[in-house]
């Protein structure tokens, strides 16, 4: 069956219908962007840091096999089990295998985008393995059976009253109490027993350090440290692009990450994991899932530099007004719009068009990914692969023909009332109709510039020329 493209435009329109959600979402994320700006102004070397981070990532990606092997060697020396997963399915089987070997059946898990990417919960739960998210936002999304809306603040599209409803359904709390403290307390009460009884801890990770064979997890709630340290078994899943060569390189990224994400100088917790605790076991699963293939894409490989800070989402005027759910993908916003089509070009064919090409994303990106240029490149590729609506394609073909023939073009917009009455015939119909839904059309004018020029200037020139020649 042919998969339908995500209807981003209509999902976004739906999101915009409720003023409370619309205003909160836009202002909350814009607030994060503003805090990010304040942090940037505190550091005169900000642009230099971005440049350095970009170069470090480019270098690492150019030598990826080398650094991955170095990481593996050093991690093994530290007593960490290292696994390689070609795709999500293989990753999930590895997790299942580790749990089976220990006779475990419950995972307490901190937030990680990549396990969502691998659809791990969907795979493990039918096999009797419970997965409990311990990050507050991620837990809310899990209970509500939704994908994360944002890479850093997964439930940002929800108001406290929405959370109260979700908790009432699952935790049997009072749906009318939407005080954030009460809600956090409800989550704490529900999570504590699970945290204490869970037999396997899982985390994602922000960075792999090749020279030390260690990895770093940056969080704000402390739940990752509980998830990793309470059980004796810790499994960490990271994408193969998370690498940095040396410990000293980390400084560049740690300084950029939380400043770009939330506008705080550093995350509350920056935890370095180097070896299993006494009597414990530590596993790292390195996931490819399309990354090697993307590394080979001339136009899109640099999206692998992403450190998942979400700054592009916070600044994106379209994302802020669409909500993360409208992208129908694990990764939403501008970064999602350029990496999602590498997973499924049909399903996510609409996302590169969910942009005004304003370029704000590219300029806040701490690792200098040319996000809006990649959106532009995706549009071309998708059009060439016929992954854009037929009507749009036909209209563009017609427009191209008309705009390359001056006489025909003039004829089509001629007449006195100009364009509005005749131009609609070629463009306005079906395709441009939506203009008027929330906007007035431009006012008709008596004559075009073209005809004004002909009357007022060409005649004069002819007269002047005649004057001089006679």
């Amino acid at each position: 069956m042919r998969e339908k493209p995500v209807p981003h435009a209509s999902l976004a329109a739906e999101f915009l219908r409720d003023d409370l959600h619309r205003i909160f979402h836009d202002e909350r994320l814009w607030g994060m962007r503003q805090k990010r700006d304040e942090q940037m102004h505190e550091l005169p070397e900000w642009q230099e840091l971005r440049q350095q981070a970009s170069r470090l990532k480019e270098h690492t990606l150019a030598h990826l096999p080398h650094y991955l092997e170095q990481f593996e060697q050093n991690a093994k020396k530290n007593g960490i089990h290292v696994h390689w997963a070609r795709d999500g399915a293989e990753h999930n089987r590895i997790v299942e295998g580790i749990l089976k070997a220990h006779g475990h059946s419950s995972i307490i898990k901190s937030k990680s985008m990549i396990t969502d990417e691998c659809e791990m919960r969907e795979y493990l739960e039918p096999k009797g393995i419970t997965v409990t998210e311990t990050d507050l936002g991620e837990r809310i999304q899990q209970l509500d059976n939704q994908l994360p809306s944002h890479v850093v603040v997964p439930a940002v599209q929800k108001l406290t009253k929405d959370v109260a409803k979700v908790f009432a359904k699952h935790y049997h709390t009072d749906p009318a109490i939407d005080d954030p403290h009460a809600l956090a307390e409800a989550q704490r009460n529900a999570a504590r027993p699970v945290l204490l009884s869970g037999d396997t801890g899982m985390t994602g990770g922000n960075f792999l350090v090749a020279e030390t064979g260690s990895f770093v997890v940056c969080t704000n709630e402390g739940n990752a440290d509980l998830s990793a340290n309470l059980p004796n078994l810790h499994i960490a899943t990271l994408g193969i692009e998370r690498l940095v060569p040396r410990m000293e390189d980390l400084g560049v990224f740690i300084r950029l990450l939380s400043r770009s994400a939330l506008g705080s100088p550093i995350t509350q917790y920056t935890t370095h994991f180097r070896k299993p605790k006494k009597g414990g076991e530590m596993h790292v699963i390195l996931v490819d899932n399309g990354r090697s293939e993307r590394l080979g894409m001339e136009d899109f490989w640099s999206s692998l530099k992403c450190i998942r800070c979400g700054a592009c989402m916070n600044t994106c005027p379209v994302y802020r007004r669409s909500g993360g759910q409208s992208y129908g993908a694990v990764y939403s916003g501008p970064i999602g719009a350029i990496i999602d089509p590498t997973f499924n070009a049909k399903k996510f064919s609409t996302l590169p068009f969910a942009s005004t090409m304003n370029g704000s994303c590219t300029n806040v990106c701490p690792v200098k990914i040319d996000i809006h240029d990649q959106l532009y490149k995706w549009r071309r590729i998708l059009a060439e692969r016929h992954e854009i609506p037929f009507v749009k394609k036909e209209i563009m073909k017609m427009a191209g023909r008309l705009l390359s023939q001056p006489k025909l073009y003039r004829l089509s917009i001629s007449g006195t009332e100009v364009a509005l009455k005749t131009m609609p015939r070629f463009v306005l119909y079906n395709y441009l109709n939506p203009w008027g839904k929330h906007r007035e059309l431009p006012h008709p004018v008596k004559e075009t510039f073209h005809s004004w020029y002909k009357k007022n200037r060409l005649k004069k020139e002819t007269t002047a020329q005649e004057g001089t020649s006679s």
């Binding site: 435009a9 976004a12 329109a13 915009l16 836009d26 700006d37 940037m40 102004h41 642009q47 005027p317 379209v318 669409s322 590169p352 068009f353 969910a354 005004t356 090409m357 304003n358 370029g359 704000s360 590219t362 806040v364 532009y376 549009r379 071309r380 060439e384 854009i388 749009k392 563009m396 073909k397 427009a399 191209g400 023909r401 705009l403 390359s404 001056p406 917009i413 100009v418 364009a419 131009m423 441009l432 109709n433 939506p434 203009w435 839904k437 929330h438 906007r439 007035e440 059309l441 431009p442 006012h443 004018v445 004559e447 075009t448 510039f449 073209h450 004004w452 020029y453 002909k454 060409l458």
Partner: protein, 247 residues
């Protein structure tokens, strides 16, 4: 120096006054300007939609019209950006390169090429909100952008500051995109129109009587949003003000 005047299709059809103001202004500044009669469009609508191949003939026509001029000037940041950065559906001959490298947006042409800072005939006794299109702000770089934290500069504001009686409103989010985005304005009309309304409200709340911009396409969209929602703000192209329009 002979200048070819490029008047983009929507200015030609909907805002001819802006085209006239651009021509008159360049003439006041002593320029030898000609408007090639066979011009249509730069090809951006097709290219922006991904249908780059459909822009090929339009680009070829553009080059046939403009290759003979030393410089090409247009009162539209977005079209100039397209010509300079993305005009690649046709083979890149010397002629094509000449056109691409010598096409200027009106403000940067006056500011950087002519280096004119005085417009003694201009007077605009109104409070204006300056709207920099994303193409002028982040591609042509005629003003500093908040994303980079760089020292403030604004070529359009420098020019406008020479106009008698003008004052500036300070919107809360001066760099936020207004949501036009070419075909985006119809393919995602709900988000587009919401952004447009937010933009005009921001300017109106800051006390702007007029929104002034070097990009008519953004203003066509914003005006549509303002009129539909009864936001009492008016629109004027920077060429009209610099040419001496009083309202």
């Amino acid at each position: 120096m002979k200048i070819g005047l490029f008047i983009p299709c929507y200015i030609d059809a909907f805002f001819p006054k802006t085209g006239i103001a651009t021509l008159e202004l360049l003439e006041k500044l002593g320029q030898d300007v000609e408007y090639p009669m066979d011009q249509t469009c730069c090809g951006q609508p097709m290219a922006n939609s991904g249908c780059n191949r459909d822009a090929k003939e339009t680009e070829a026509l553009f080059v046939r019209n403009f290759a003979k001029y030393d410089m090409i000037v247009a009162p539209s940041g977005s079209c100039v950006h397209h010509i300079r950065e993305n005009f690649d559906a046709i083979e890149q001959t010397d002629e094509v390169r000449h056109v691409r490298q010598n096409t200027y947006e009106l403000v940067e042409f006056i500011h950087d090429v002519l280096r004119v800072r005085e417009f003694p005939w201009a007077e605009f006794p109104h409070k204006v909100g300056l709207h920099n299109s994303c193409a002028t702000l982040r591609a042509l770089r005629t003003a500093s952008m908040s994303e980079l934290g760089e020292p403030f500069f604004s070529k359009p504001k420098t020019l406008l500051s020479a106009v008698k009686g003008i004052s500036f409103a300070t919107p809360k989010r001066p760099d936020e995109c207004c949501g036009f985005g070419g075909t985006y304005s119809v393919t995602e009309e709900a988000v587009s129109a919401r952004m447009g309304l937010d933009k005009v409200n921001d300017h109106h709340n800051a006390g702007a009587e007029y929104i002034v911009s070097a990009d008519t396409s953004c203003m066509m969209h914003q005006q549509g949003c303002a009129e539909r929602n009864g936001v009492p703000v008016r629109f004027i192209h920077i060429a009209d003000i610099l040419n001496g329009a009083r309202s």
